[in-house]
């Protein structure tokens, strides 16, 4: 308690120093006076009296100093002193200060920018209650069925609920779209169908109205829906009376029961509403369309739940469906993994890259400081002579470095803020929480921390060096003001070699990613993508309830569009390269019993209009394509892809074989990528739309014009004339769809390439700095050499040799480091080995070349040294 009081008073002792000093002076003076008077009284002479009193006091200044130390907080006071002195020194050396601050700003700014992305995407907590206990669940099936994320069937959900022991609550959802009629014109919207406990699982309460209830799930009940906040604002103008209104979804009447709070971007950012999922008790295992969502019981670990869940048995065991076997194999994934799992690795790689760049920048500034410290040796020795302890000097120099770093940090934040805006424009939409990337409190705190650490990092070595000077060495009369110790020279060379090595590492990483991306873009997707306009159609409602209506609609539409000027061919299909498919299913081949030992015959089912193959330039290998005569009444036909033929008809000719009991295989076409550019090709079976109907199709128009989008209004007009109420969406080009598929790799490759370029520039500047300084140091020596007959060429070689040694050492260091570390990037590389020799070699040459080029300038300068001047140079 007393101590607290004392501390407070000491804090206040920092202020009003002058008045308190006067007070102290008065007290000390009065003390001396009293003492002197007593001495005079005893009989001393005035001089003796005064001397005795002063001696007894123990030194005037010392007493005052001790008193002042007790009065205030010396640590704080010296800190303030250091800050003021530091600011003054930095302001005097504007050249050094501005270069240092700029370098630091680039390094810290890049760091801040990437951290702001990491902050928004990885560190932000989800708006759900206890999200660590929330998991998503899928079946684990064969690749063609969806692989790790094969959807659940209704029967799976019910079986799981009955036999569950590990979860508090189990629900499910399905991403889907609806033809929404509620306002002026119909449109199709993205939405989700959910079980009644969906929001309860998330721990989210509606903002308006009520939550879904179990009763809403009954098949006969009035279907209900919860609107998203964004949808409510845009389509209903935030009408508080929206609860109770009826809307039409796919022709069915739903009642709005409430509005969800904002930023619930689950299961998708674009979900306009959540509609209740109603299902009747299932009579078979399929179809598979649900994603499970559940909350772990308290105290149950993820592993325990995973083990338990794989002991659950299905109530429809049979060998004849997509996912064989009686027992489930579920894929249980924490919700956080689901949302950020894809991008986490790439972001961490970016974070590592940007840290390396900062390290290089800091090393440059450290070198600058070492250079500068050579000119301050006299100043430091003077301080030491005046009584400054080593730690005091180090503290003062560190304060300067930290000031530099903080200044760099402030400018870096500004750079990052501008850069973040650019980042948002370039970033692919698949990155979660994209809109929340920005500079917030946590990002600023991170920047401050990074600046502080950087300041300490690059300031410590030079500060320690400066303080270690011996007194006599520096105060020597006529001593060289710019002597450099061997230790310092070694440090700087070591730092430059490290810089170059790190730059090599970054450049190789960037090179590998660039090569990988280049290869990705050149993957043969199996189709010709140019000049194809695409859009999505969804046929809902009574007009298209019967398949026959589709049979009249599609051909008419295609005929009219094909007649438009500039159009070569038009086609509709339920799938589209590179990564859009509708569903996959099992099929049977005549004469072949289902053998449980072999993988089940599953393929992606692709329904197309007859001109599909022509529109995309998919070559026919054998047999024939679909024609207009393949109609609902005629023989059911199918065309298979090469992979399907290879996998399921290895020894025989598939043409003519019967499949799925009624169909006949009539042709084989070349493979097309439908499951993503980086994934292997899965089996595909094509059927004509006239025989296998689909209500969700993609319209593709092969055009002759350079910009297919210019025809979109004409196409829209044709659609409108056939059906003014038909909504269409996702109008774009096939090239655009392909570009979107590689948006993420493009994004991260661009960023890393940028950072690598920055690293290269910084490292080369650092090399230049060191060699340039070294030339200045050796002016005297070079003058002697030239006086003794050395030619300009010889001097050039001398300097370049020094530079070459540094460059080679750096490159070797970088190559070793890359060899060891690029294996970590394997997940991000496509068709490129992590130790791709051409890339390694190319980067080595690039860096060595640029470093040598940087050395050339000071080398030239060295050749122009006038020996007579140099010899006098000290």
């Amino acid at each position: 308690m007393r101590n607290l009081r004392a501390w407070f008073l000491r804090l206040s002792g920092l202020f009003l120093k002058q008045r308190r000093d006067r007070d102290l002076d008065a007290e000390v003076r009065s003390h001396l006076q009293l003492h002197i008077e007593e001495n005079l009284h005893v009989g001393m002479t005035p001089q003796q009296a005064r001397r005795e009193a002063l001696m007894k006091l123990g030194g005037l200044e010392q007493t005052k100093e001790l008193y002042r130390e007790r009065r205030g907080l010396p640590l704080l006071e010296t800190l303030v002193q250091d800050l003021r002195y530091g600011l003054r020194t930095l302001r005097k050396n504007t050249g050094f200060t501005s270069v240092a601050i700029l370098t630091l700003a680039l390094g810290i700014g890049a760091n801040t920018a990437i951290f702001s992305v990491v902050n928004a995407v990885l560190l932000r907590s989800l708006p759900f209650k206890a999200s660590e206990r929330l998991v998503l669940v899928w079946n684990q099936g064969p690749a063609a069925a969806g692989g790790d994320r094969t959807p659940l069937a209704v029967s799976d959900l019910l079986d799981w609920r009955t036999q569950n022991r590990s979860f508090d609550e189990i629900g499910a959802f399905q991403n889907r779209s609806f033809n929404y009629v509620g306002g002026s014109s119909p449109e199709w919207i993205q939405a989700a169908s959910v079980t009644a406990n969906f929001f309860f699982l998330l721990g989210v309460q509606p903002e308006l109205g009520r939550n879904l209830l179990p009763d809403d799930e009954h098949p006969g009940a009035q279907p209900v829906a919860l609107l998203s906040d964004g949808f409510w604002r845009s389509r209903f103008a935030s009408d508080p009376n929206v609860v109770g209104r009826s809307i039409s979804l796919d022709g069915d009447s739903y009642v709005v029961i409430g509005v969800a709070p904002p930023h619930i971007d689950f299961p998708s950012k674009d979900a306009a509403l959540w509609a209740i999922l109603q299902f009747k008790p299932p009579t078979r295992r399929g179809p598979y369309f649900l994603t499970g969502i559940a909350r772990l019981k308290n105290g149950v670990s993820l592993q325990a739940a995973r083990a338990e869940v794989n002991t659950i048995k299905t109530s429809f065991p049979s060998g004849q469906h997509m996912i064989n076997g009686q027992q489930f194999t579920f894929n249980v994934l924490p919700i956080n993994e689901f949302i950020v799992g894809d991008v986490r690795f790439a972001l961490l790689v970016l974070m590592a890259a940007v840290t390396l760049v900062l390290f290089i920048a800091a090393v440059n500034v450290a070198n600058l400081m070492l250079v500068r410290s050579a000119t301050r040796t006299k100043e430091m020795s003077l301080r030491a002579a005046l009584g400054a302890s080593r730690s005091r000097i180090i503290r003062q120099l560190l304060t300067e470095s930290i000031l530099l770093a903080l200044a760099g940090g402030v400018i870096g934040v500004l750079l990052a803020a501008a850069g973040a805006r650019l980042l948002l424009k370039l970033a692919p939409h698949t990155i979660p929480n994209l809109s929340q990337i920005g500079i917030d409190g946590r990002v600023l705190a991170w920047t401050a921390l990074v600046s502080l650490l950087t300041g300490v990092f690059f300031g410590l070595a030079p500060a320690w060096h400066s303080a270690r000077l011996s007194l006599d060495e520096a105060l020597k009369e006529g001593g060289r003001a710019t002597t450099e110790s061997a230790a310092k020279r070694r440090w700087r060379s070591l730092l430059v070699v490290t810089e170059l090595g790190l730059a090599v590492l970054l450049l190789i990483s960037a090179g590998l990613l660039i090569k990988s991306f280049w290869r990705l873009q050149r993957v043969d997707s199996g189709v010709i993508t140019e000049r194809i306009l695409t859009m999505q159609l969804q046929l809902r409602g009574p007009r298209y309830a019967k398949p026959q209506q589709l049979d009249t609609f599609y051909p008419r539409l295609l005929e009219r569009i094909a007649a438009l000027p500039g159009v070569r061919t038009a086609t509709v299909s339920n799938s589209l390269p590179p990564d859009t498919t509708e569903y996959s299913d099992d099929f049977t081949i005549e004469g072949r019993p289902t053998d449980p030992a072999l993988p089940p015959p599953i393929a992606y089912m692709i329904f197309v209009s007859p001109d599909y193959f022509r529109a995309f330039g998919i070559p026919l290998r054998r047999g024939r394509l679909f024609t207009a005569s393949d109609s609902p009444g005629s023989q059911r036909v199918a065309i298979i892809s090469e992979t399907t033929a290879r996998q399921f008809f290895p020894q025989e000719d598939p043409i003519g074989k019967r499949f799925n009991e009624k169909g006949e295989i009539v042709g084989i076409v070349a493979d097309v990528k439908y499951t993503g550019l980086t994934e292997p090709i899965e089996p595909a079976i094509y059927e004509p739309l006239s025989q296998a109907h689909s209500w969700d199709v993609l319209l593709s128009v092969k055009t002759d014009v350079a910009d297919p989008l210019s025809l979109s209004s004409a196409v829209r007009a044709e659609l409108n004339s056939l059906d003014p109420e038909l909504p269409l969406s996702k109008v774009g080009t096939l090239d655009y769809r392909f570009a979107t598929a590689v948006a993420q790799p493009r994004f991260r490759t661009t960023l890393i390439a940028l950072f690598a370029a920055l690293a290269l520039v910084l490292a080369v500047i650092g090399t230049y700095g060191v060699i340039s300084y070294s030339v200045t140091q050796r002016t005297h020596e070079i003058g002697i050499r030239m006086a003794l007959g050395a030619q300009a060429e010889g001097v050039l070689k001398l300097v370049l040799k020094q530079g070459a040694l540094l460059a080679i050492a750096g490159v070797l260091l970088g190559l070793c480091g890359s060899f060891a570390l690029t294996g970590l990037l394997r997940n991000l590389l496509f068709n490129v080995s992590a130790t791709d020799w051409p890339t390694f070699g190319g980067v080595a040459v690039l860096l060595a070349g640029t470093a040598l080029l940087a050395c050339y300038v000071p080398a030239r300068r060295a050749t122009r040294i006038d020996p007579t001047v140099a010899l006098r140079y000290e």
Binding site: R2, N3, R5, A6, L9, R10, A26, E27, V28, S30, H31, Q33, L34, H35, E37, E38, K56, L57, G58, G59, Q62, T63, L66, Y67, E69, R70, R71
Partner: protein
């Protein structure tokens, strides 16, 4: 500096408090003089070290200060004991007595043993 200084500081503080209790309000020089005398001139200490000690006591609230006038009409800063200081003095006196008696038992010659 270090531990010795702290111990010294503590003893000095105690001596200051005791002096002020016995003699009433006194200025810095007077306190220093008195301490020197009482210790029988065994403590030849710098008077200057007194002032930081006085400041510490004042910061802790055990003494208070006021400018006044001495006998010979000289301006001087007088210190006096506060109530908290009085209590602290009593406490410290008790502690010292206890410490001394315990130590005495240890350091006294053993009886019946050699």
């Amino acid at each position: 500096m270090g531990e010795k200084a702290d111990v010294w500081q503590g003893t000095l503080a105690l001596m200051v408090l005791k002096t002020l209790q016995l003699l009433g309000p006194l200025h810095g020089y007077g306190i220093a003089r008195r301490i020197e005398q009482t210790s029988g001139d065994l403590l030849a200490v710098n008077y200057g070290t007194l002032y930081p000690a006085l400041l510490k006591l004042e910061q802790e609230g055990y003494i208070s200060s006021e400018w006044g006038v001495s006998d010979n009409n000289r301006k001087a800063k007088y210190y006096k004991l506060t109530r908290a200081g009085r209590k602290q003095l009593e406490r410290e006196e008790r502690d010292w007595a206890q410490t001394t008696s315990i130590l005495a038992r240890f350091l006294a010659p053993e009886e019946g043993q050699s």
